[in-house]
Amino acid sequence: MTNSEKNRLKDKAFQVFGVFCTFIGLIVLAVFLFDIAIEGFSRIDWDFLTSLPSRRASRAGILTAWVGTLWILVLTAIIAFPLGVSAGIYLEEYSKKNRWTNFLEINISNLAGVPSIIYGLLGLEIFVRQMRLGGSLLAGALTLSLLILPIIIVTTREAIKAVPRSIRDGSFALGASKWQTVWNQVLPASFGGILTGIILSLSRAVGEAAPLIVIGALAYVPFTPDSPLDEFTVLPIQIFNWTSRPQAEFLTNAAGAIIVLLAITFLLNGIAVYLRNRQQRKVKW
């Protein structure tokens, strides 16, 4: 074999390997989805979506769980959106570049990598115990807000950074203040990107069970919450609970709940992708 033949073979070999690597994640996911779908789809009906939890698998539904998930979703968005976006704006537009802000930036990136259960413990101490919120929706949403705040801050900064300097200069040169420039130019131009980041981070929050279990969200809640101070459960906790039961019927229930949870996350991700594409099409600098 000549040298060039050898090289060509290596090239080919890597290509095959690369394709394998690319598809391995997708294949595993597809197998999993297929499995879940076969098991769970037949379980999903109107009763399943509108029934309270029950000890009897065939009568148990996910009403409290998906309502709790929606509550958490909305509350977390309301809390995390203004905080994260404001922090991102401050860091990108206002803060002077010095050692202190450098330190802040590095640590915010680090926070994005902290395991979610640690946030659960933090929430348990601050919100549940110190602020006496108990295992309420509010405590859960605050905890999840902490969890996704770093992601929102980072994506907000990325989106803001993508707005060219020349737009800011143009605004300043017409007598606009920094705030006017941020409000009238930078935010509208980067809003699609910011929203995308927020939705993606919310879709992560929706899938979390661990931190909510730590703060004391219950698996069995016999009513749907009416206010942010009520106790709650969410889909991931319900799923976790059902999969740990020995009876096979509960596993079927879990599969049904997983399909609903996945539908919510895929919907959120779909919205995010749509917004991002629209933004890219709309704004060409």
Binding site: K96, S166, D169, L174, A176
Partner: protein, 254 residues
């Protein structure tokens, strides 16, 4: 000849980016309703100097000035000067057209909106007036609600001029306003400058000697942060006093 008034003046101006000494002891006085061209090799400090007149350098970390910049005899770096008020007087047009990603109308009236003007009639009148002055009205009057990004580069640059004129400045700073444009658009901009100097004091940075010759009354030649020569444009191009000026305008370096 009527009496000339000084509009813009720099006195013993030094400017620094951190440790870098970008402008060195500059003294210059520019007359009202006159076009002054700044020329010189790349990196000699033309843009830096131009941007001190509306304090656009304020946003650069580590930038500082010594000495005075006077507008109508008032020091614009004095403590009581409000930058937004200054920029109503001193408008700026950039090298690359930078329309906002908004409608043509919103681009023109942006400076007025910033000042809190909301009356539709006032805004519409100002928009038409500025667009007429920047010779763009006929081309855009039927599509004021369309995105400004859909205009050609030359139209965008005239829109940026209209945007600057809308807040009625008395000075117009232009940093290579035609360097990103095709020859036809460039000619239009030059024509426009010629028109505008009846009402405005204009300072234009250019790399194009012919352009400086065509549009300006006075020319300032900068070299490595120094103002080497400042005189009537005709004088400068026919009998430059300094060797470096001579070399530059005859194209021996730069």
């Amino acid at each position: 000849m009527n009496k000339k008034t000084t509009k813009l003046e720099a006195k013993e101006l030094n400017a620094y980016y951190g440790d870098f000494h970008a402008l060195k002891n500059i003294n210059i006085a520019m007359e009202e309703k006159n076009v002054t061209a700044f020329i010189g090799p790349s990196g000699c400090g033309k843009s830096t100097f131009l941007r001190t007149f509306n304090r656009m350098n304020d946003y650069i970390d580590g930038f500082r000035t010594e000495g005075d910049i006077l507008l109508d005899g008032r020091d614009i770096y004095a403590k009581d000067v409000r930058v937004d008020e200054l920029r109503k007087e001193v408008g700026m047009v950039f090298q690359k057209p930078n329309p906002f990603p908004k409608s043509i109308f919103e681009n023109v009236v942006y400076g007025l909106r910033i000042q809190g003007i909301k009356k539709k009639a006032v805004l519409e009148e100002a928009a038409e007036k500025s667009l007429r002055r920047s010779a763009l009205w006929e081309e855009v009057k039927d599509k004021m609600d369309k995105s400004a990004l859909a205009l050609s580069g030359g139209q965008q640059q005239r829109l940026c001029i209209a945007r600057a004129l809308a807040i009625s400045p008395s000075v117009l700073l232009m940093d290579e306003p035609a360097s990103a444009l095709d020859p036809l658009s460039t000619a239009k901009i030059e024509e426009l400058i010629y028109e505008l100097k009846n009402e405005y004091t204009i300072v234009i940075v250019t790399h194009n000697m012919q352009q400086a010759g065509r549009v300006s009354d006075h020319t300032a030649f900068f070299y490595m942060g120094e103002l080497v020569e400042f005189s009537k444009t005709k004088t400068m191009f026919t009998s430059p006093q300094d060797n470096r000026t001579q070399n530059y305008i005859t194209g021996r370096f730069g």
